[in-house]
């Protein structure tokens, strides 16, 4: 059976584990441990390997949801994980000190993957930290030559996370649900 997967990435505290938990059909496997480095300033626990959840489709088909660890020292895993994936859900937290620097770093790391797969950007904690606003994020993406969906999300809300993934899928094929009409054009 084909191994289909969607990657959730972003810096520490962006909400990757929470988003996968919101979407997964099974209790996600989390590899969180007590933070011992500078991460501790952000959260008590952090993902040290990867998070894993599953979206069960009809029959026995599964979509694997992988959350990358946020720390840069694990960035060697990002490329391995993203190989063959359908797309990338990138989460950036407005509560972190330099969200736009985070965005640049992850865009750079995932750029080859983004160029050949789906991509959606979710901004978390924007209710309590208004800046940067969506316009600024859109401008940054435009400067990078990307016109991707950018949404404010609450990673705890399944609807928000599902909407991100829907937008990612429709970016790949806007005619989903109506394949005959679009493919004929």
């Amino acid at each position: 059976m084909a191994h289909h997967k969607i990657i959730f990435s972003g810096p520490v505290g962006a909400g990757k584990t929470t988003a996968i938990t919101a979407l997964s059909d099974v209790p996600p496997i989390e590899t969180e441990a007590t933070a011992s480095d500078h991460t501790r300033q952000t959260k008590d626990k952090t993902t040290v390997a990867l998070d894993y959840g599953v979206l069960k489709l009809d029959g026995s088909e599964r979509i694997h949801l992988y959350g990358t660890p946020g720390q840069e020292r694990f960035d060697f895993m990002w490329e391995i994980l993203s190989e063959g994936a359908i797309g990338l859900v990138l989460l950036i937290s407005n509560a972190r000190p330099e969200p736009l620097a985070d965005l640049r770093q992850f865009l750079e790391a995932f750029r080859p993957f983004i160029d050949q797969a789906g991509f959606v950007l979710g901004i978390t904690r924007s209710d309590s930290h208004r800046a940067p606003d969506l316009h600024t994020y859109r401008q940054h993406l435009a400067q990078a030559g990307l016109k991707a969906p950018v949404f404010e999300v609450d990673a705890r809300q399944r609807r928000d996370v599902a909407l991100m993934v829907e937008a990612l899928l429709l970016s790949l094929d806007p005619g989903l649900e109506v394949p005959a009409a679009l493919s004929a054009s």
């Binding site: 609807r159 599902a162 909407l163 993934v165 829907e166 970016s171 806007p174 005619g175 109506v178 679009l182």
Partner: protein, 380 residues
Amino acid sequence: MSAQLERRALRLAAIGMDERQCNTLRLMCQGPCHNACALVNEIEAEASVLDMDGYQATSRLAELRQAYPERPALLLSLRPLSEELRAGDVYVSKPVRIEEFKQALAELRRIRQTAAAPRPERIEHPVSRNFQPLTTPANGAHRAARLMDGALDHAYVGSAPDIDPGVPAQLEKAYYDPDRYLQGIVARAREMARAQRCNVLIRGAWPALTLSADATLVQVLETDSHLRPYCVQPDVVGGASLDCIDAPPMQLGQPGVVSLDVFLWKLALFAARGRLPRNTSLDAPVLLRHWPNFTRLTLTPGALNIAALWAARPHSPLRTAQLLGLPQRHVFAFYSAAHALDLAVSMQRSADRMLAPETPPPMPHQGLLRRILGKLRIKQ
């Protein structure tokens, strides 16, 4: 057929009713009527229920009859309705009594059964039946997706049928003038706040609105149902005033403070009701500057598909409806809302069209993507 219909709940669409009225109807169906009826969305309904004392109820009824000619309606009104207005539909006077309501349900079932009875000419000539091509899968996931959207609400996309652009009378119905609606006033206030960097107080026939100096927030001390009549009615803007005022900084979380984008998006949907802003070409491609922030905006039917299509490559409103198999009003509604937020623009100049990005290559996993999409929507 009759026994089957009797056993299950009659699916009712409450048209033009606010949440409180819907809840009352729901309770009536579940309690005194012993689940003889259930509220569903407009598409899935077998019958409609209208409060004829509501705003523009008569025109809504006319639109409904045009959109669903075989669907009976239950008309609730304080005053007796003329035979001409009833036109074969079922009337119940308000306040609604349980027994009368039950009888009305039975009458709606009877009308449905009559309409559902096989007609000899259709059996003899099945190929002549005027079926629309099935362009969207009528599976559970699809229906659930539409329910999730909450977007079938007549209030947001109207119920007008597709127009023939070659017929001037129909063409005229496809347009509205935002400047004649509250939408236009709020858009002007936004420009004023941006230009003068001040809080702007909007006064008029409606409850007062205040825009923040950075034009990102608005204070609205009324609910949607109270404000909506002012949003859908043209020419309420006469005598409106916009004034710069001194006010403390506005913040989300304060009473009545919401995102201006969220508010203006909804105002545009209310005013447009499935129409396009005047002077928008039906044939010129639409450029989507940015994806709307869909997690915070009212999601209209097909909005995600339309945004994805336009983000990939501009298409005209008419062509978009055709490609995606959507009613034109869904495309028009989305364009009107996105245009109100400066997210979409009609590329009526040839120079604009040169900016059109290339169409991305087709994706190899279409079947898989569709199954994931169905899964995401059915669970919501």
